[in-house]
Amino acid sequence: MSNVASAMSTSANGSIVRRNAVWLIAILVVIGLPFIFSGGVAIAVLNQMGIAIIFTLAYNMMLGQGGMLSFGHAVYFGLGGYFAIHFLNIMSSGSFVLPLIFVPIAGAVAGLAFGMLFGSFSTNRAGTVFAMISLGIGEMIASSSLIFTKFSGGEEGITADRTEAMPLFGLNFAQEIQVYYMIGGWMILATWLMYRFSRTPVGRLANAVRDNPERAEFVGYSQKHVRFMSFAISGMFAGVAGALFAVNYEIVTEETVNALTSGVVLLQAYIGGIGLFFGPIVGAVVFTLLQTLLSNYTEIWALYVGIVFVATVMYAPFGLSGLIAMHVPVLQAGRLGSLLMPYVKIGVPAVVCGLGLIGLMELFHFTGDRAVGESEKELFGYVFNVDTATPWVLFGVLMVGGFILAKRMGPAVFEIWQEATNFDNSGDNK
């Protein structure tokens, strides 16, 4: 993965104008998106995406940058959401007045406080111990949220009305689009802060502790302390995301703290790629799109997401962003053309295998809960009779055949890939 590292360092060493250009483009994109996707559903999806981006970036501060695998990060997201929604309700009752856009600060404070509390004893070591403690804390808080119902509202949750907060310049956030800009603004701010954090000495030390804790200790830094800092700040940003969730949906239920939410954020981060700062953004966007758009076409979208996840872990451990970043040096060397044919050779069987898999899954799903006498299922524009063997055999052959072909192509493509990324002879490597 030295190519990824070199790609990262070249982009980081660009001039100040170039570095800020990324943020300017991001701001323009956030402002411009609602003009392109203006439907109510689109705005709702974009809001969800913004929240997911903050949460996943916060999560990756730990997993990708700090080397801490957490199975309970929903705790900080959910508690941030709960505190934010209680804060919003106190504001609505008129005890004190503050515009709605400051609500995420309540979530940030709650996330930071719980991050410091739980981080104080769980960051002694990384690895499996940390993962187990995070799992334990996650399960504890999730169960507690169903027990202490005065605070959490149990399964019904706590509701609020965001329009009752103090209006800001006449805006009362009744419309989705206003909330969109609030989330967008917070997203840019949080992303920028998290990026800046990763460039501070503490952020760099987090990487050092991730890669070699012993050596970091010898240099004179407490690995526990460094992990604790990452953990607490990650909790804080997760709290911001939770608060934005509370503002957007005006309800926080126990679902926000449970294991599923913790699992989804891990999925998002890993599919996007944990090796690069911007990887989790890719993951959050792709996952939200899959969740919202794919679910229009198929009920078993979660199964496909699971397959994509497992395939990522097995074949592309640096995620989508890692795959993209791998090709940057190749592109710069002008060798992308030589990869085209091999990619077609492996890509076509892979797509065929995927089609076969999707077909089989849909057939299984259809036969599982069809009405009596119903035997025709439309797939890829064709109508199949599921009571005959034809569709089953067809999709089975496509899947197995595609897989075997793709697998057979693998070594050859890998060889060409290694040739294309071998810069030793061309002299542009130091």
């Binding site: 690895g127 499996t128 403690i133 799992l135 399960e139 504890m140 027990i147 199964l303 872990v313 599982g368």
Partner: protein, 316 residues
């Protein structure tokens, strides 16, 4: 009171031994490969679902044998073609792989069997009460569960301490390289242990399905508890897993039976409490309600203060 204690003991024993059947495989796998297998409880679920399908065709008893065998083969394949490929990316990647696998198995189970609870029942011959004590009855099926679990425990203990295979497994846990040097096929040993562990998990599913219910959430309901058991018991320690399983089993069944809250304690010593205040949840909550939290509290405390567990020699 005597009735409560006796039946809580019996139920705790049944539940605890069931946990042991799951945790024995998991703790062996973990201590050998360093992988906490998140999919272990999913294989337990798979066992129950397979047994349901098999039992609806040929009856309960063949299912008791066939379902664990399929689960074991499945586990061995997962190790051979999944985990072994991911191994080169490190332990965190392996952990994430099993996590993804658990997610995937749950989705597959819903795809094939649907989302509803299955009507998976114990065989007719065991669907009778075994004995009646103080108006409460103890079902024969639970006694059967006890018998199977105890049988598994004894068999495992004998195989691991008295046989040549057990010797190699024990050696491979601590010194895999040395065992390899001596000419044993260590990857095969790993695959075998993974397969047998999965078969035990499948068997647990087969016998627990009729009692604890056969539904898509059954893996999520039991999985984290099994982790608690192996951490508390100490890694790689079969005895530890056994003691911790019983401990957690008793803890959960007794907690459910205790209907007192901290508020009762305060009222008992003469304090009056406002049941309407915002923090009233803290003292009106009963021990029974707190039951689900206790194992995790124990897990976190154990990892902080004694990471080797009760009987373990190595840290997690």
């Amino acid at each position: 009171m005597a009735e409560l204690i006796i039946f809580s003991l019996l139920n705790g024993l049944v539940y605890g031994l069931l946990l042991f059947m799951l945790s024995s495989g998991l703790t062996l796998i973990f201590s050998m490969m360093g992988v906490l297998n998140f999919a272990h409880a999913s294989i337990y679920m798979l066992g129950a679902y397979l047994a349901y399908s098999i039992s609806s065709v040929v009856g309960y008893w063949p299912g008791l044998i066939i379902a664990p065998v399929i689960a074991g083969i499945f586990g061995a394949l997962v190790e051979r073609y999944g985990l072994r490929n991911v191994h080169k990316f490190g332990h965190v990647a392996e952990l994430i792989f099993t996590f993804g696998l658990a997610f995937l198995i749950e989705e597959f189970v819903q795809l094939l069997w649907g989302k509803q609870n299955l009507d998976y029942r114990e065989p007719e011959i065991l669907a009778v009460p075994l004995f009646t004590l103080f108006d409460s009855t103890f079902p024969a099926y639970k006694a059967f569960m006890l018998l199977v679990s105890v049988g598994i425990f004894v068999a495992l203990l004998i195989v691991l301490t008295r046989s040549r295979v057990g010797l190699i497994i024990n050696a491979a846990i601590t010194h895999p390289n040395m065992v390899g040097m001596l000419g044993h096929n260590v990857p095969l040993v790993f695959m075998g242990v993974f397969g047998v562990g999965s078969a035990l998990a499948g068997l647990a599913g087969v016998i627990a399905g009729p009692v604890l219910g056969t539904f898509p959430g059954m893996a999520v309901a039991l999985g984290p508890i099994v982790f608690v058991v192996i951490v508390i018991g100490g890694l790689g320690s079969l005895i530890g897993a056994f003691v911790a399983s019983l401990l957690i089993g008793f803890l959960q069944t007794f907690a459910v039976a205790i209907d007192y809250s901290f508020g009762d304690l305060f009222t008992f010593i003469g304090m009056t409490l406002d049941s309407q205040s915002a923090i009233s949840d803290l003292y009106t909550v009963t021990i029974a309600q707190l039951g689900p939290i206790l194992p995790y509290l124990l897990l976190v405390l154990m990892l902080i203060f004694r990471p080797t567990g009760l009987f373990g020699t190595r840290e997690v």
